[in-house]
Amino acid sequence: MVNDSHEDTYRAADDRRFAEFDRRDFLKASGVAGAAGLTGFAGCMGGGGDDTLTFGAIHLLSGFAAVYGESAQLGYEMAREEINENGGIDGSEIGEIVYRDSEGDGPTGVEAARSLVQEENVDGLLGLDSSGVALSVAPVIEQLQTPFMITHAATPFATATEGENAVGNDYVFRDGVNLAQNVYGSAVTASDTDATTWTTIGPNYAFGTQTWDYFKAFTQGMDLGYEYLDDATAYPELGASDFTPYINKVLNADPDGVITSLWGGDLITFINQAKNSNFFERIDNVLMTVGAATDVLRPMGNNMPDGLQAGTRYWFDAPDTEANNTFVENFRDRNDGRYPSYNAQNAYTALYLYKNAIEGAGSTNADDIIDQWDGMQYNAPVGEFTINSQSNQAVLPAVWGTTSYSEERGITLLDPVERIDAPADELRSLLEGTDLPAGV
C-alpha cells in the first residue's frame, strides 16, 4: 500500500535536492570532468565512450506474485541475448539488466527507481507490476529525468496527464494494454450478452475499484441500460486464502453478470472456490479481465471452466504474424515449451523499444529517447502499434475470448479469440463527463 505521508516526504526531499542541482547539471559537470580526465564514468551514463548499456527493471520478485517478475525477466533476458547476438544497440552491447524488487510497495518502488538511476547509472528504466506502485513511482521519474517504459501496471492514471489524480509525465510510457483499453473490451463483450444486472469481485486496491468504475462508465456511455449492484460488490484482500464469504455475497445478490479483475493466484483460488459454490452455474455471464494470463492458465491445467469470457493484454495465438509466431517459437524453445505470458511479451518488446529509440536518435540521452518514442510505430509480437504522443500509451486492441481447454496443447485457449480495437477518441468520448482519464 502506498503511504501518502512517506510519499510527501520523498517528494519534498527530491524537490529540494533537484532545485539545488538537477541531473542535467550533474551530467554536464561529469562531462566536463571526464574531458579533463578526472573521471571515467560519463560514458556509462549514456554519453558514449563505454560500449555497454545498462537497464534497470523494477518488478515483484518476492511474495505471492513473484511469478510475474520472473515472467518479465524471461522476456528481458531473451531480448537482451537476441539484441547482443545481432550486434547490440548501435554497436553497444546490453551489459546487464539490474533487477530490483518493488515488493508491491510504493515507497520501495520509488527507492528502487532512485537507486537504479543514481547508483547504477542505468540508461533506461523498465517494469512495474502493480498499479499502486506505478502511481508512486511515476512522479519521481519526472524528477529523475530518465525514460521509463511501464510493461505491466495498467492504471491509466500512471501515464495520463489529464484529471486531478493523473501522474503521467514526459518520461513515463507504457507498451502494454492499459486498464481502460482492457475494460473497454469487457464492455463490448458484455454488450453481446443479455445480462442487465452487474456487479464485481476484484482485488481491494486501485486495480479492482478502477475496473468497476471504468466498466460502469463505458457501459453507461454505450447506453446499455445496465443496473449496477454496488451494494453487492466484493473486494477481497490480495492473497486472501478464502474467497467464499465474498462469493456468497455476490451470489446472494443474484446478478446476471459479474466482472472480475482478480489476477494471479487470487484468480485461481477464486475460480476453484467458486466452482465449489456452483458460482459458474448460477451466474450466466462471468467476465475475467485478466483471466487469460498464462501464469494462471498453466497451473490451472484442465480445471479452468470452459465457456467463460476472459481478457488479456497479449495472447500467444494472436495475431498470426511472423513477429508473433517467431517470438512464441523462440520463447518456447528457451523455456521448456511454456507459452509466453503477457508480462514476458511486454518486457521483451520494451527492450526492443529502447533499441529502436537509441538507434533512431543515435544517442542514449533521455530526452532523445523520449522524443523517439513519441508517436513511434513498432511491429511487436502483440501486433503493430503506435505510441500515442499525447498520452505516451501504446494504442493496442483489447484481447478477449471464450475459454476452452485444449487436450492437445495442454492449456486452456481462447477460442474464439477477438482483438477488439480500442480507438483513443472512442474511449475519450465514452468517458466524457466522468473523472476517469482514458490514458490513450
Binding site: 467464499t244 464469504p245 456468497n248 497451473p299
Partner: protein
Amino acid sequence: MALPIQEILTGLSLGSRYFLVAIGLSLIFGVLGVLNFAHGALYMIGAYVSLTVVQNVTGSFWVGLVAAGLAVGLLGAIIEMGLIRRVYDRDELDQLILTFALVLIITDLTRTVWGSGNQTMATPELLASNVQFLGTSYPAYRLFVIVVGFAAMGVFWYAIQRTYLGRLVRATSSDRDMAALLGVNVPRLYTGVFFVGSFLAGIGGALAAPMQAFTPALGDQVIINAFVIVVIGGLGSFTGAFVGAMFIGLLQSFGVLVATGVGQLLPFLAMILVLIFRPEGLFGGEGQ
C-alpha cells in the same frame, strides 16, 4: 435462511484452518517459551510436501496428508535440536531473529525447489462433491476440514488434561528446572513438543493445498492471522487458540456482509480491544 448457515459454515471452516496453525504456535510458546516466527513457513512446507507426494509419488491425498505432517514434524524437530535449543536462555529478540532467518531460508529453498509460480492441487475425489447440510448445499471437503479442526481440539484437550504425557508437558511449562530435577527428560520433551507443533502445521498446510493456489509466500499470509488469534486467545492457551480461531473465522465470514474490507479489518480491531482490556488474552494465564 441459506445464507447465515453458509456464512457460519464458511466461518467455521476458516477457523478450523487457522486453528491448526495457531495451536502449534501457541503450544510451542506455551511450553518452550519461543515465539516461533517460522511456524508459517512450516505450514507452507506442508502444502508443498503434500503436493509432491500426491503428484509424483502415490497419487493419494491421504498419504500426502500424513507425509506432510510427518515430514514437517521431523523438520521441526531437527530445527529445534540444531538451532532453537541453543537460544532458549537468550533474549526473546534473539529467538525472533533466529526464527525470522529460518523463514527467509525456508522460503528461498522452497522457491529453488518448487519455483515461484502458483501451485494447485485437486480436491480428493472422496470429498470433491457438495453435500446437503442443514438445508444448504456445502462442499464436503470444507465440512471435513471443520471436523479435523474440532477433532484436533478434542484430542488436544484430552491429551493435555487427562494423560500422563499431558501432565509432564504442563509441569515442564510451569517450572522447567523442577521438572528436570524430578527426572523429566526436558530436552527430549521439548523436541517432542516442537515435533507435534510442526506436525500440526504440516497437516494444516496439506489441508489448505486443495482449497487455494499457493506459492512460497503462503507462510507469510498465514502467520499474521495465527499471531492475531493467539494474542486474542492468550499466548500458550490452546483453548484460547481454538476460540480465537473460530471467532476470527466467523468475523471474516460475516464481516464481508457489513462493508468492503471490514472482513479483514475486524480481526485486528478485535485484537486491539483485547490488548487494551485484557492484555493476557481471553484465555491467557489459565495454564492451558
